[in-house]
Amino acid sequence: MRFLTDRKRAQGLGSARTGTHEHWQMMISSAALVVLVPLFIFTFGSALGGTYEEVIAYYSRPFPAVIAALTLVVGVLHMMHEVQDAIVDYVHGVAGKMAFVAAGAVAWVIIATGLFALVKLAL
């Protein structure tokens, strides 16, 4: 038993039949973000540094607001999976489970808060 490796123990048991979905999800959101991130950086960048009135007026326009909302939802969910992947890799046991759920909760709070702010700015 001393030299039995994890690979040998797993061999012949078949695939886990799960996990590919998460990978595919990351690939799709990566591709989407390659378009969204540059748009967001340059719209957000031109708003940042403006006065209060300028920022309100800027985010009342549809294009910057929709870009920000899309980037927020797709981006934060993508980062949530990124962080949860790291937690699964490095934190184990109860602490790992708690950290996994906490990372998810933080992501949804960021998304909900951001969308609320964007709607309020736009209206």
Binding site: V34, I41, F44, M80, F116, A117
Partner: protein
Amino acid sequence: MADVNRGNRPLSPHLQVYRMPLPAITSILIRITGIACYGLAVLVVAWLLAAASSERAFDIVDGILTSFLGDLVMFGAAWALWYHMLGRLRHVIWDLGYAVEIPIAEKMSIAMLAGATVLALFTAIVV
């Protein structure tokens, strides 16, 4: 697999004595910048929420983000965001089955580091 006796197994070279190839370093940086971007999302949302709340709240958060320290943080965040985007793009390219040869992977690593720096500087100049 936790029940296996790992005590007497021969060990492969430890991570600390193993000189990491450039593609490995750039790959780990993708994860680090990804987690940093999570922090950036909090800053952006705090700024948007402050703008949506009141002029006073906006002045406080905007003052922090546009201060010298804020500028440094935002420049670092821009670099991390660009780097992460290029890194993920590389993974999408790999996933489609292209450019998996080691010399190309090393060239792409250099391109990611240089590209992120150029794009971050460009962002800082333009906005």
